[in-house]
Symmetry: C2
Subunit: 116 residues, 2 copies
């Protein structure tokens, strides 16, 4: 087994069009021998966001910390907070936004390991 | 997309040999259209534990709350606390124990949806 604290995992700034103030960690993934799925963690700074995009695989999300919204494919904003789970379906357009003025928004984002 | 707070998800007592004081929730799974993976949540009462067992699929864990140990296949105890991730490999014997005297231990446990 592998055990790791999120604080011990390298954090990389996400450089992608449409991203603002987001950082990525990969606590459990293919390099650890994960057979099927990878768990990433994204930290979005106050006022930041992930890209408004879609892709042919799903997201399995859990909000660890903070408050924000998920924008759905119609542009509607759904509030999310610590303790919430979200499933974004394959090819469904989506975006996470941190709506807090001063707190980070942090979530787990599970994907098939091929897309980690 | 589906969004749900863990507090809104039905909690069922785990009835299985070797389990003590554990409750299961299924916030995201096959009935939600999860394509590959399911995310369950287990809440283990103070002094409780999951079974010491193995199965042919992995666990992808994240500790939401509390403190405990994972027992590995050799019987060694590895401490885990909120913010820790763990990967239990297929066929690896394991057990979660809540080592706290008065607090719950709560974790996400991801598995392939066939085994949710």
């Amino acid at each position: 087994m592998k055990v790791v604290s999120i604080d011990q995992v390298e954090k990389k700034k996400v450089e992608m069009e449409g991203v603002k103030g987001a950082w990525k960690q990969l606590p459990l993934g293919s390099s650890d021998g994960a057979p099927v799925y990878s768990l990433r963690v994204f930290t979005v700074e106050a006022g930041g966001n992930t890209p408004f995009h879609s892709h042919p695989y799903e997201h399995m999300n859990y909000v660890i910390e903070g408050e924000g919204v998920i924008v759905d494919e119609y542009g509607n904003e759904r509030p999310v907070k610590a303790g919430d789970f979200a499933l974004v379906y394959p090819d469904e357009k989506h975006q996470y936004r941190n709506t807090s003025a001063d707190r980070v928004f942090r979530m787990i984002c599970g994907v098939p390991k091929e897309f980690e």
